[in-house]
Each structure stands twice: as structure tokens, then as C-alpha cells.
Symmetry: C2
Subunit: 216 residues, 2 copies
DNA sequence: TCTATATGTAATCATTGATTACATCCTTGA
DNA sequence: TCAAGGATGTAATCAATGATTACATATAGA
């Protein structure tokens, strides 16, 4: 059997001999899990360990349990999500709040549709206790606050028909979230072959909503 | 040990001795799984078997695998979902299409919020292959058709501002589905203590949407 | 009544999350 | 410098689950 070399590893290790310690296993496990999810596979601790070429018990040195790993994965995904949305908004020349809201919704949906598995992990609360990660909660809260600020601005500038701001905020979240989840949950039967069609429909839905709340 | 009586079971069985054959195990398994889900537990084949007081292998006489059981569960849940919505619509005195649409959305959300686990099984497509049950697909399709008909009627009666009916239909589905899933996925933090508040917000969101698409 | 079929049981397997005892490495401070 | 001790990985093991197979029993129809 090709058992592990027992020669003193004190000496500089040969190129192919992995060192006993991994380097940054935590990071590698998170990446492996993200990749697993992106491939549409179930995320299992053992498979992540396998991809990191490490024993099945090793991950538990970094995460007390599977949920903690998933929470870390969600944290990373949420970070990327937020970064991409803010980047998209940053590219925009300054416009009115409703135009910014439109850009926000589009960036949100584009990311959700291009990273469905990661969006699912972020949003579902099925993989770990809600609020178990402060970072995740913060990123999420700030994204929501960002979008709500746009609507508040719009209201202050008299751009909205209704005075019930809270209602508009919730409805807008429900609309965008619902569209993302419909895509995720397989409610867009065929047209998914090339995603352009779904993204165009996302745009149309957002425009319809904005037209509905905007002062005529 | 209180091992099973080996006396010839040919004779009429004593009251407490369960007969070898169960009666309607398939049905009982589905009900057990529905109940498990409603309790917020994971639905496992074995636990369903346990509740049916039957061996762990028995369910596989009725369902080729776990997914098939979940599909049957979804079928039953979808049947109830549709029945309740149609019942709610039946109670309504005949009104305009937008009023009917409003009643539809409310009935939809009320059921989704009162049966979150069942709604999840129906809608997610994570528990079994989409389209694996003809009945489920049919019930779902007809619900969608029902709601779309209301919007079509509204359009024909000149009640809508926009001519893009398809867009309105998708947006309305996204809105209602999104609200239901936000509740399901834990995006309504505190106010859930008594559901009345969420149901009122659901009502408000639907009204906002209808006001947005209706001809002023 | 006799037999084919449907339905349940017992035993077993592979996979997974998790824990425990042990091995190895790395850092720190005397 | 180097030994102590914490951090990190391994090996072995456990319990739960989905699934399969061989076998047992009940039921229906000729």
C-alpha cells in the first residue's frame, strides 16, 4: 500500500508531499463548498473535505458543525452579492432615486439569476440559524437599507403616488425577491435556455412596478 | 421480551395486535409526512414509517424512493391549496376581475402563511423533480390560469393601464410568491408573533400592486 | 382450496454528520 | 535554544438515513 511516508518530515518536504498542516483549510473548505453549490450538488462536509484533500473530521476543527460551514459560505456569498450590487450602482452616473432603484433591482436580479445556488444559500435560512452570522446580517441589512433609502428619497422628492412608504418598500422587496426565487425554484419553464430572455423580463417587471408607484 | 405472538393469526386478531397488512399504508405515510413537515421537522422516510408503526423498508413498497413520497405529499398539499383558494373565491359574490384578483391573492397568501411547510414543499422543487406528478402540475397550472384569467378579463374590460399583459401576470406572480417566500424564509423578523400583522401587510401589498396596474 | 401477487419484515449496505483519542506541527517564553 | 502547550490534522468509531435483498405473510381470484 502506498502508505504515507514516515521519513522525518523535518526536512523540506518534497513537492508532492502535502504538509501535515494545510495552510488555510477554513478558506479552502468555504471555497470548495461554494463550488459544490455552484455545481448544483448537495453541499456535504465530507465532500468539501475530500476536495480539500483532507480527512473527514478535519473540517470540524474549523466549524463546530455543518450549519456553521454553511453560514460561513453564506457570509462569503452575501459579501460578493453586496459588492457586485454596489459596484453596479457605482458605475451609474448620478440620477434620480427611482432610476437608482431600477439599477439596484436589475443588479440584484442579475446576480441572483447568475448565481442561483449562492443566492439560495443566502436567502433561505434553511441551512443555518437566521442571524447566526453578524457579518451576513450586516451585509444583508445594509443592502435592504440601501434600497429603502432610494425609495425614501423618492418619497421626499414627491416622486411617489402613495404616502405609505413602508408598504412600498415591502412590496418592492417581495417583487424582486419573488422574481429571483421563481427563477430559482423552477417556475420559469422553458425560456431559460438563454438567460437573456429572463433578464429582459426581470427588467420589464421592475419597470412595471416603478411605473405603478411613480407619480404620473 | 414482548415478541410478536406467533400463535396462528388465522383467528380473528386481538384488538391490539396490528394485522400484518396495514390497510392503507400509502395514505398513512403521506399523512405522517405532512404532519412531520407541519411540525417543522425534517421529513424522513424512516420517521414516517415509525409513525405508521411499520418497518423502515415498508414505505419502499409504495414509493420507489424518498422523492416519490415527497412528490405525493406535494400533490396532496397542492390539492388542498387549490381547494381552499377556489372555496374562498366561491364564497365571494360576483365582482369585477380586479376584486376577484385581490381575493385570489389574499387567499393564496393566507394559506401560504398558515401552512408554511406545505407551501414550501409545493413550491420549491427541491424535494422532487419538477413535473414528476401530473396531478400536481395540473393543479398548479390551473391555479395560475385562474389568476391569469382574471387579469385578462381586466384587460379586456379596459381596467388596466398597461397593455403588456404578460408582464403584469409575471409581476403579480412574483409579488405574491415573493411575499409568501419572504415569510417562509424568515425575512419578516419580529412581527410574526401574531400573524394578523403579516396578513394585514399582505393585504396592503396586494392593494398597492393593484392600484399600480389599474386604470386611474 | 390453491396459488400468484401484493405487502410487510429482517438484515444489510453506503453515505453522512459528529465525536473521541491520538499524532503532528507551530509558536512562545523561560 | 528548546520544551511546553495550543492548534490543527488523522483514524476509528457511532448513530441516523436512504436504499436493496431475501424472506414471510396476507389477500384475491381461478
Amino acid at each position: 500500500m502506498p502508505a504515507r511516508q514516515t521519513s522525518k518530515p523535518r526536512a523540506r518536504r518534497t513537492p508532492e508531499a502535502r504538509p501535515y498542516h494545510h495552510g488555510d483549510l477554513r478558506r479552502v473548505l468555504i471555497d470548495a463548498a461554494l463550488q459544490l453549490a455552484a455545481e448544483g450538488a448537495e453541499v456535504s462536509v465530507r465532500e468539501a473535505a475530500r476536495r480539500a484533500a483532507v480527512s473527514p473530521g478535519a473540517p470540524f476543527r474549523h466549524f463546530p458543525n455543518r450549519d456553521a460551514l454553511m453560514a460561513a459560505v453564506a457570509e462569503e456569498a452575501q459579501r460578493r452579492f453586496r459588492a457586485e450590487i454596489e459596484a453596479a450602482l457605482g458605475e451609474e452616473p448620478p440620477k434620480g432615486p427611482l432610476e437608482r432603484f431600477r439599477a439596484f433591482g436589475l443588479a440584484y436580479l442579475r446576480w441572483a439569476m447568475r448565481n442561483p445556488a449562492h443566492f439560495e444559500i443566502i436567502s433561505t435560512g434553511r441551512y443555518f440559524a437566521h442571524g447566526s452570522s453578524a457579518d451576513l446580517t450586516r451585509d444583508n441589512t445594509e443592502l435592504i437599507a440601501l434600497s429603502e433609502r432610494m425609495l425614501t428619497d423618492a418619497a421626499e422628492q414627491g416622486l411617489l403616488r402613495s404616502a405609505d412608504l413602508k408598504r412600498i418598500q415591502i412590496a418592492s422587496r417581495a417583487l424582486v425577491y419573488g422574481f429571483a426565487r421563481m427563477n430559482l425554484d423552477g417556475h420559469f419553464p422553458r425560456w431559460g435556455i438563454e438567460d437573456g430572455q429572463i433578464e429582459r423580463m426581470a427588467e420589464g417587471v421592475i419597470d412595471l412596478f416603478i411605473a405603478g408607484i411613480a407619480q404620473p
